[in-house]
Structure formats: structure tokens, C-alpha cells
């Protein structure tokens, strides 16, 4: 099995290329002509990209996988609209971001609170390793939930900038392509987003007695 760097950054993520050496565009063309196996390869190749984004929007594995499923269904149904000018991953992330925004709008405040509470409990039960101190695990889970909440409350541009650069580890040229700006502009957006996130987090952490 040959491994090659991720299309986004390549710092720590590696992709299995046993799906074939076809480019995304070639696979899209095959999928457009009715070859569902080509779309399956695209799904295997990029599902983690969508999943990582989705998990920050809905921090439960089931919900995140539902988002992934919906995003790929939408992508399959709208393959004819995909233009070759943009990268397939950029297009896919745009669908994900739009769907995440729609989903957030549709859900009521009460549902959000319930999801966050359930997600916090689930994260504490599932993510934390049994070997660590349970109190420390709880504190980490609480802090993660606060950071996620702060990210979700950011304006859409700032939220996407943070998620793409600091969670998805995307390169600045990819971010620039998504936002339709220059690389310098993308860097500036990420800087502004980080400052906005820190400004939102500081009062939350000080209220909860945490340090920043």
C-alpha cells in the first residue's frame, strides 16, 4: 500500500491511494457518466475531510456521519453542476459549510442546548482514555465544548477560516481558493478569525475559572 500526503497540508494526514490513481476530476467525470464506483472512491478519499468539519459543527459521531452522508448525497445529486475550475474538495467543503449553516438555522435553540449537553457527556465518556484522571478528562471535555461553542458562534467567514486552517490543516492557497481571494488575503482572514475567537473565549474561560 502506497501512502501519499494529504491534499490539505500533508503535515500529519496521509491518504491511502489504493482507490486508484485517478484525479478527482477524472473520477467526477466517470461518476457523471453513471459509474457509481468512481463516486465511492471519491467518498473514501474525502469523507474524513468532510467528517472533521462536520464533527466541529455537530460534536457527536452519529450526527457528524449524518452530515457526511447528506453532503455526499447532495454532491452526487449535483455532480452536473460541478465546474472543473474549482477543486473538487473546495466544492465539497462549500456544500458542507452551506449545509452546516442551514442545519444550524433550522435547529431551535433548545435543540442546540440538548445536543451540546448530550455531546459533552458523550465526549467525556468516549474520547477520554480510561487511564487518565477522570477529573482532568472532564475539564478537557468542558474546555473543548467551550471552544467549539465559541467557534460556532463566530461569523461564518471567521468560523470557516479557523476550521480550515487550524482544524483541517488546509494550506493557505486552498483557503484562498475557497474564499476566492489571494493567499495574503486568506492569511489575513485567518489572523482576524483567531483574534475574534480569542476575544470570545477569554470571557468564557474567565467565567469558568479557566486560564488563557
Amino acid at each position: 500500500m502506497r501512502l501519499e500526503p494529504s491534499p490539505f497540508g500533508g503535515k500529519s494526514r496521509e491518504f491511502d491511494t489504493t482507490f486508484g490513481a485517478d484525479t478527482d476530476d477524472a473520477l467526477v467525470n466517470r461518476a457523471r457518466s453513471g459509474d457509481f464506483s468512481a463516486f465511492e472512491i471519491l467518498f473514501e478519499r474525502h469523507r474524513n475531510l468532510v467528517y472533521r468539519y462536520a464533527y466541529q459543527m455537530a460534536p457527536r459521531r452519529d450526527d457528524a456521519e449524518d452530515i457526511v452522508q447528506e453532503v455526499f448525497i447532495r454532491a452526487y445529486q449535483n455532480l452536473h453542476r460541478y465546474r472543473d475550475e474549482a477543486k473538487f474538495t473546495t466544492w465539497l467543503l462549500r456544500i458542507t459549510a452551506n449545509y452546516g449553516t442551514d442545519r444550524a438555522r433550522m435547529s431551535t435553540r433548545r435543540q442546540n442546548l440538548e445536543q451540546q449537553e448530550a455531546a459533552g457527556a458523550l465526549t467525556w465518556m468516549t474520547v477520554g482514555s480510561g487511564e487518565d484522571d477522570p477529573i482532568e478528562n472532564l475539564e478537557q471535555a468542558r474546555r473543548k465544548a467551550m471552544v467549539r461553542e465559541a467557534i460556532q458562534n463566530l461569523p461564518e467567514n471567521h468560523r470557516n477560516a479557523i476550521l480550515f486552517r487550524d482544524i483541517q490543516e488546509m494550506e493557505y492557497d486552498q483557503i484562498a481558493e475557497y474564499f476566492g481571494c489571494t493567499v495574503g488575503g486568506a492569511k489575513l482572514r485567518v489572523l482576524r478569525a483567531r483574534r475574534a475567537l480569542k476575544d470570545r473565549l477569554m470571557p468564557l474561560l474567565s467565567e469558568s475559572g479557566g486560564e488563557f
Partner: protein, 298 residues
């Protein structure tokens, strides 16, 4: 601390330093700056901690089933008539855009339209003429008594009120009344004198063919005020105005009634007023007689 220094500090905290950032941060090594640098380093760690997520266990089978269950989006089929409808709508909009000029020219017609509609109802159709034929004997009877104007006004005010002053009929529909008056058939149908039927009474009158002639005579008598309803506005000014209401029913009746009387397909009756007075009612006595039994002429 300037924005430039602040950006350099954030880049350093996130290990994305550019050329010169280290010098900027080192030059501004104040306590507040160190605190800010520490805060951003913590933020970076928090964000990195968010990368630890459970693995996605969604399979391709689940996606395939979901796509099969959902199905493809139904293709939007554009009906054939939609482009035609759109073109028609565009044409309507264009017509409306060109309407201002047409509107200014068409305003008088717009105010006139109710009158035209009223006149359409009063157009002398066959049944209407037959109904109104009963009026003719009275008017033609009174005409020789010199009170035609008064009686006419009493009979036909509604018609004169509906008369459109400015109505213009197509010239090709305008009849040549002089040609009709000069035709031999009319001359033969016209009685030389009403007294010939009943010499003793000047009130004798004829309905049907004879009334037609009487009506034409009423036209000749200068009843132009009523003529615009039939012959157009141009004639309105030529008449004397007398007997306006009298001439109107006569005109209408004569046109519709005369052909039917001449056809002979149905029994044609003529009402003869011999001149007596009904003792019960005090009204003039009228007698209905078969036309074939009446000899017209002097």
C-alpha cells in the same frame, strides 16, 4: 503595540512566522505582549485538541443505500408552453410600454364605451321591432294632428337619452336613404293619403308596410335630431330637432318590420283605426285586419 506587531505575535504563537516576525516580537517584549503570546499559544493547543475526534465509521454501503433511497433529483421539465407564455408576457409588457400614446388618443373612446354598449342593446333586432311596432300607430296617428313633437317626446325619451352624441359609424354601413326613398317599390307601398283608408278620419294609420312609409316620411319631415342614432352625428345638425322622439321608433320599426310584412310567409295583420271612440275606455277604437283585405293607395 501596532496591528502589525499583533499579527506577528499571532503568527509566532501559531508557528507560522514570516521573515522579520521574530525581531518584531523580540523588540516588543513587554509583559502584556508575553501574556498575549501565551494566550494565543493556549488557543492553538485548544484548537489542536479539537482535532482528536472519533473515527468516521460511515461505509460506502450506507452511502449507496442512502442515495438509492433518496433517488436522483427529478429533472426539471420545462413545458413547451412556458417559452410561448413568456414571449406573450413580454409582448404584453411591450404593448403596455407603448400604451401612453395610445391612451391619450383613446380616452374619448373610453368615455364613450358605455354608450356604445347601451346602443348595442337597443339595436333594432327583429323581435324588438315587432314589439315597438305597436307604438307606431299612435305616433303616426298623432302626427297629422300637429302634436308629433310632444307625443314623440313622450314615447321615446329613453332612446333619445341613450343617443351617443359623438358616435361615428363606419361609412360603408351608412345607408343611402335617398336611394331608398326614390325606389319604385317604396313609392308603390306609400299611400297617397291616409284618408283614403277611412276618408272620414284623419287619424287612420297603418302598421307594417304602411308604417314603414310613414316612418320614412317622418325622416323627411326633418327629424334629424333623432337621426344620429341611425345615420350618424353628421346628420344631427341638419335636422330641425322637432319630433326627435317620434322619428326614432319609426326608423327602427320600419327597417325591421317592413321585410317581414312583405315576405308573406306569416299572416300579416294591419291595424286600422276607423276613428271611433270606445265608450268603455274612451280611447280610439283600433281594428286588426288582414293585410290582404286592405287596399293601399288613393
Amino acid at each position: 503595540m501596532t496591528n502589525k506587531d499583533f499579527d506577528a505575535l499571532i503568527r509566532s504563537a501559531f508557528q507560522e512566522e514570516e521573515a522579520g516576525d521574530r525581531e518584531l516580537v523580540a523588540g516588543e517584549a513587554s509583559e502584556a505582549m508575553k501574556k498575549e503570546a501565551q494566550a494565543y499559544a493556549t488557543l492553538r493547543e485548544d484548537l489542536h485538541a479539537l482535532r482528536d475526534i472519533p473515527e468516521c465509521q460511515m461505509s460506502t454501503e450506507r452511502l449507496r443505500e442512502a442515495i438509492l433511497a433518496r433517488g436522483m433529483k427529478p429533472k426539471r421539465v420545462i413545458p413547451w408552453w412556458q417559452p410561448a407564455f413568456a414571449m406573450a408576457a413580454c409582448a404584453a409588457v411591450a404593448a403596455l410600454a407603448l400604451a401612453p400614446g395610445m391612451k391619450s388618443a383613446g380616452m374619448p373612446e373610453k368615455t364613450e364605451s358605455p354608450l356604445v354598449a347601451t346602443h348595442t342593446v337597443a339595436e333594432p333586432t327583429q323581435p324588438l321591432a315587432l314589439e315597438e311596432s305597436s307604438i307606431a300607430p299612435m305616433t303616426s296617428q298623432m302626427a297629422p294632428q300637429g302634436s308629433s313633437a310632444n307625443t314623440g317626446a313622450a314615447v321615446a325619451p329613453p332612446l333619445t337619452e341613450r343617443r351617443p352624441e359623438t358616435r361615428v359609424r363606419p361609412s360603408n354601413r351608412r345607408p343611402n336613404r335617398f336611394a331608398r326613398l326614390e325606389s319604385p317599390a317604396r313609392d308603390s307601398a306609400r299611400p297617397a293619403s291616409l284618408d283614403s283608408i277611412n276618408p272620414g278620419s284623419a287619424a287612420a294609420a297603418l302598421v307594417g308596410a304602411a308604417a314603414d312609409s310613414a316612418a320614412f316620411r317622418s325622416e323627411d319631415a326633418g327629424t334629424g335630431a333623432a337621426m344620429p342614432t341611425t345615420f350618424g352625428a353628421a346628420d344631427a345638425g341638419t335636422g330641425s330637432g322637432g319630433g326627435a322622439g317620434f322619428a326614432m321608433p319609426g326608423n327602427q320599426m320600419s327597417r325591421a318590420g317592413a321585410p317581414q310584412n312583405k315576405s308573406g310567409a306569416e299572416p300579416v295583420t294591419v291595424i286600422v283605426i276607423p276613428g271611433g271612440v270606445d265608450p268603455a275606455t274612451g280611447a280610439p277604437v283600433a281594428q286588426e285586419v288582414d293585410k290582404r283585405e286592405v287596399v293601399f293607395g288613393g
